[in-house]
């Protein structure tokens, strides 16, 4: 299976270093408002959800783009949807189309979304708790399968 940015919600602590790493890499400044990744924070319950572009196989943003500025590409073994700023006219249709709010139009007038930093995502580099990893999706799925299986096993143990 291809690689992807994989988020482990149990490990996220809401520090927002990913937002800082992203904006610093792409805009040369620390500014969460310009980051392509955002952490939704439910601090009272110690629950945090980093939301990044999921690089949909059938991307709504790409489908709706009237100028063909969004295109499918590959980065270090991962499928990625990228923005061609030569073609982008800043119409914001992509913003309307994305159900996750993962594509925005910035001050420069162009659409911005996660480009996986060309295959070495900076957010993953700066995530000390290890909540964001760039890795093989199969490995991640198998882990979840195993965790669920363990719950079943535990129930069986408890009932005996």
């Amino acid at each position: 299976m291809p690689k992807a940015l994989v988020v482990d919600l149990d490990k996220c602590t809401g520090c927002r270093s990913c937002e800082l790493a992203c904006s610093f890499k792409h805009h040369g400044e620390f500014n969460p408002a310009k980051s392509a990744i955002h952490v939704s924070i439910f601090a009272d319950k110690a629950f945090y959800v980093p939301v990044v572009c999921y690089q949909c196989n059938k991307p709504f943003c790409k489908e709706v783009c009237p100028t063909g500025a969004l295109y499918a590409s590959e980065a270090n073994g991962a499928f990625v949807v990228k923005v061609d700023t030569e073609k982008c006219v800043g119409c914001k249709m992509c913003m309307l189309a994305c159900p996750f709010g993962s594509i925005t139009v910035q001050d420069d007038g162009f659409a911005q979304k996660c480009d996986l930093c060309g295959g070495e995502p900076e957010c993953a580099v700066f995530c000390v708790p290890g909540a964001i990893e760039f890795k093989d999706m199969e490995e991640s799925s198998l882990k979840k399968t195993r965790a669920t299986a363990e719950k079943f096993y535990q129930q069986k143990e408890d009932s005996q």
Binding site: L20, E29, V125
Partner: protein
Amino acid sequence: MNGWIGRILRVNLTSGNITTEALDEKIAKDYIGGRGLGIKYLYDEIDPAVDPLGPENKLIFATGPLTGTGALAAGRYMVVTKAPLTGAIANSNAGGYFPSELKFAGYDMIIFEGKASSPVYLWIQNDHAELRSADELWGKDVITTTDRVIEQTDPEAKVACIGPAGENLVKFANIMNDKGRAAGRSGVGAVMGSKNLKAVAVRGTNGVRVADPAGFRDAILAAQKEFHDPYMSEVLAKYGTADVVEFSNEVGLLPTRNHQQGMFEGAAKIGGATMAAKYNLRGARKTKACFSCPLACGRVTRVPDGEFKGEGEGPEYESLGALGSACGVDNIEAVIKANHICNEMGMDTITAGSTIACAMELTEKRFIPKSDIGLDLKFGNGHAVVELLKQTAMREGFGNALAEGSYRLAESYGHPELSMTSKKQEFPSYDPRGGQGFALAYATSNRGGCHIRQEVHCLEFFGIALINIIETGGAIDRFSTEGKPQVVKDVQDFYCMIDSSGICNFIIIGSPDPNVFIKLMETGTGLKFGGLEGFLKTGERIFNLEKLFNLKAGLTYKDDTLPPRMLEEPMPEGPGKGHVVHLEEMLPDYYSARGWSDKGIPGDTKLSELGL
């Protein structure tokens, strides 16, 4: 400017005028930010002799040049003002998300002046800043206030506010931000209350730039590497600072029953493992981080049922000590509840707990008549602690006496010696008889009894942290006074820099190499400090200016002291048994290391060397 935004917001609450002004580059270079920038502006703008709760006092919210950057744990601000608890300089620090949001809105600092005629809150949205009525928020607790202000402004707004304790001018009221983070000490919340300022809400969408982006990125990665110290990244990750309870108990300096003892038989019952097993929302793992912090020492707790039912942030180590062992309380649910009440009402947990502990001793020794209290105030009564905290925040009944802090309380009953304070500020949860160095640090801290303006106790216990700042030649004996005056001076100066940078000192204490921090500061701001020596010199300037403020405020060398219990009563048990603090042996050498007279007054040579 790099790191700094270069802009200050000035809010005159009397006239309602809000203006912006440029940050003076020379001042920024000499005083950095946070604690340093705060004291510079406060010293230049007020008479240190003013009434801390009068309109002439000013309240400064100061970020540092690294606040809002990706440097580790770089999300702090410092509240600087004249303290109602001590009459000395106050600098209270907090993390969370509010400080970096202030930076993203485009300000290094806010200076509040005067007093509003009725309750207001300040709403800042990038360049736009306005005062709004807070009539309907007055009287509300911190949680409700924060929620309401967010409803009235922006879902992404970050809020700092006071609770009822700040409104009622409780001398140790704090300023809470993001609900669970506190600029805790010295009564900064009472100053905010005295100005009729209920809250500050901010939303910012601008960026923070650094001088050398590539070098800064390298410095962050180097700092991350240093951070992977097993204690910092594993033990504290598991339990938060609550882990320290049992450690302090083992080494015999966990304040117990108002410092009558240094070991508490109930330590395990109020320790990190107990909290993690039953009460932490996430159990024994990283739970809640401040902005850009890899450590995530915060804990969110829930007591599911019973008298102490509730949910909220904390307690961390200091609160477990002050509200737990210092009061002889081993009921963790009562301690958690007491901590939640302090957060909701906006009170410093350390002074609150220590003041009740003092009241308990005064009561047990029959210096306070039972009729004055209305509760059975015995050590160990967790119910009484919780009830008295509520009364204190509202200044109801005996709470009105407690709201003055332990020194004024004990003095009013004729026994000031039973207040465990320096400069009228209560000790944190390390008994000074457990280490000569940090005992000296408590006595000479510019803001009174305090552990985090100079974490000398970390040196004396762990021997690893910050080891390269000073030439210790290896582990240092905590019970020896030898070399301590110089150690305390250097660490105090170094901490002036941490406290001015916008970084949390908790990250720095895990790093044995000061150059990691210096590199972050240099690549971030573009300043060149000229090695550790030059770096410490800037810190020394800040420390001395605070000292000058305190002298003008009327404090003298007589205030650089500790209560008789620390100086004369030997620790009764444990590894520290038989020890007292030998302050008189260390103080003259400390003054001399500082270039101060034997009366603790900075000499002309020292002042001109520092450009003061």
